[in-house]
Amino acid sequence: MKNQAVERNFTTTLLAVATLSILPILPVDGHAFESMQMGDWEVQFTGNIDGFLTNTECDAGAGPVAGGLACGSNGVDRDVGNIRTGLLPSWFSFNAKQETDNFSTEIMIGFQPGIDGGNQGGITGSPLDGGLGLNSENLRQVFVQFGSDWGKIKIGRDLGLFGSDAILSDMTLLGVGTVSDLTAGGGNTSLGRIGVGYMYADWKGQIQYSSPNWNGFSFNLALVDPWGLVNLSGLSLDAGTFAQQGDTYGIEGKVGYEFKGPEAEDLSGKIWASFINQSLDSATFGSEDATGFDIGAKVGIAGFEVVAYYYDGEGIGTADFLFDAVDLAGNARDSDGGYIQATYAIPGPGTKVGVSFGESNLDLGPADLASSALVKTNESIVFGVYHPLTESLNLVFEYTNTESTAHNGNQAEESSIAIGAIIFY
């Protein structure tokens, strides 16, 4: 039965590839939305819409990988087909900016709908949607930002600082990347390289200061809404069982240097480092600190671009901040990871081809057994082709292989093919 399903999915994929391959490959003119002047305010509507056909083969191996991100980590062999959203949810942002007397004020409100049926407000969907399975959506971004020569202050909900440049540099941002058991059913997003190379920066309530740009140098510092522990693996404490106190704040910071030449082919690049810290106070288990740092670099010249990234942390968990961060005795677990990525944009058609490899590791805590099924490593390799059909519209093809390995040796493997399109407007 499984072989038949695989064959059927493969045939579907081939049909999709064939359909897209007959589309014209030469760039044509694309037209972007323009802005509007409303009194003193310049108003813009921006965002993207994307959709992908995915075929995901989930191999469970000998047993489950608790907290593993390769589809099949739950111990169930299956093949999943979807017409779904990629790593980028579709996006609709309203942005308005006012500049008077060297003082700028800006507001941004964005909501993110998925195209597949899912849990309302969540990121996950159901593999087989029933009738009235409405699509999922959420509101990730809402903030006001104001400032002048001295920098800018942002108040609201926006992308966190720690790990932000890692995801923004990830080529799968235009595609799908890892699907996982979590999002195999579709919904609002896939994982890309989240948890298989970097921690998700996520969207957080925050008060952030951004420095001016001094010839490419800048820094940011943010006070962040306190977050609670999440038990993704079933082998960790969560905010409730940890009896986590909420009377603290997170703090995140980032420093970076960026430059680019006047021409697209010129040498350009960016180096950044960031950190995150939040105290974990428990009435039952005492106190732990969740602290992480990362460093990354991106260099491009003549169409080539290389990204290298590394992070390390204690008590920050894996995949997302505070996911499986403490063992059942309330001890912080260590984690690290990183990824490397190389892309090349072919002159002329501008088609970008890329390959990336990355992994995220989670160590055992002092109270964990050596035979624990807790995930030890999530790793993936991604091959991607991103073709700009117009200035705004990109066709995407990706192959992603993800493996999850538990501390007890259990393994799961996910092979996923994604083909689709993304448009920025």
């Binding site: 941004m108 971004q141 697209a264 460093i295 590394y310 260590d334 030890k376």
Partner: protein
């Protein structure tokens, strides 16, 4: 206190054996740091005068190695450059000649460039031009509700007592993409123009008062405008004008140029042009004479050399 736990409370890193890709990541980071450092040194050597959001004014080598040396450094007043630039008009190549031309720069761009170009020209060497790349919102049509962001780029230099501006882009496409909630430039290569004749890509400058398109043996350059010395000389007074309107404008300068004071006139090396504002009524006469000379040159009734000599004679009367 931990109620249970097997030893010292430290997480075990036994599973963290070094792997080949970590070595690659660290090596890549080191290489990237070195490359970016060298790039940063190179970028700094370009001597940036002003930087804005995807915009810049910088000193750069002349685009042709054998180009005649510029008369740099030179002191021009920001207000005079503003006056020159604000009168610049263009129309698209596919438009009829009776189509009203539109302004090349908006008001904010004129203010920024007035300051930054004056500062750049006062610091440039004879082998350097001042390149600029500015982005601004322009109405889709006069009085229109909708705006569009457009990119204008070129180079400026002072020679033969004239301010030369060559355009590579005039209101070319420019926009930002929303990528994961970040509005980032959808990069368009900058074209800073060239002394060598090049294709004008859809936009043609229109000569304005006190300025003319450059005539070359191969024909008129639609991308190269020359501002007569009258503008420069009027502006080249060594003492900044302290008038209320100027102060008012400076208060509204964007952050990166606010507070910029025009460079004092160089005492020895800089070429300065004595203040000799034309008297009332002199300018129209000079314009007429210049236009006559231009017509004669266009009809090939006088040579390029004679044309330039005569133009110089006329301009000396200013």
């Amino acid at each position: 206190m931990k109620p249970y736990g097997n030893h010292n409370g430290e997480s075990e890193r036994d599973g963290r054996t070094p792997s080949w890709w970590r070595a690659v990541v660290v090596s890549s980071l080191l290489v990237a740091t070195a490359v970016l450092y060298s790039g940063a040194v190179d970028a700094r050597s370009k001597d940036t005068i002003w930087e804005g959001d995807d915009q810049s004014v910088a000193l750069a080598p002349q685009d042709e190695p054998d180009a005649p040396p510029n008369e740099h450094p030179v002191t021009l007043q920001p207000q005079e450059i503003e006056s020159m630039l604000s009168g610049l008009r263009f129309r698209h190549a596919d438009q009829e000649e009776d189509t009203p031309p539109v302004a090349v720069f908006n008001k904010e761009q004129v203010k920024v460039l007035g300051d930054a170009l004056a500062k750049g020209l006062s610091r440039a060497t004879p082998s350097q031009d001042v390149t600029f790349s500015v982005v601004g919102a322009h109405r889709l049509a006069p009085g229109a509700f909708a705006l569009r962001n457009r990119l204008t780029a070129g180079r400026a230099f002072f020679r033969d007592g004239q301010l030369n501006v060559i355009f590579g882009d005039i209101q070319s496409p420019y926009r930002k993409k929303n990528i994961y909630g970040r509005l980032e430039e959808d990069f368009y290569p900058r074209n800073y123009g060239s002394r060598a004749p090049s294709e004008t890509e859809g936009s043609l400058l229109v000569a304005s008062t006190g300025a003319s398109l450059r005539d070359e043996p191969g024909g008129r350059r639609e991308d190269w405008i020359v501002f007569a010395a009258s503008g420069a000389s009027e502006a080249a007074t060594s003492a900044p004008r302290e008038t209320e309107p100027v102060k008012s404008e400076q208060r509204h300068m964007p952050a990166t140029t606010a507070g910029f004071e025009p460079a004092p006139a160089p005492r020895d090396s800089a070429k300065t042009h004595p203040a000799a504002a034309p008297g009332a009524g002199a300018l129209p006469d000079i314009e007429q004479r210049l236009e006559t000379l231009k017509r004669l040159r266009e009809k090939d009734l006088i040579s390029e050399q004679v044309y330039r000599e005569k133009v110089d004679e006329v301009l000396k009367d200013l």
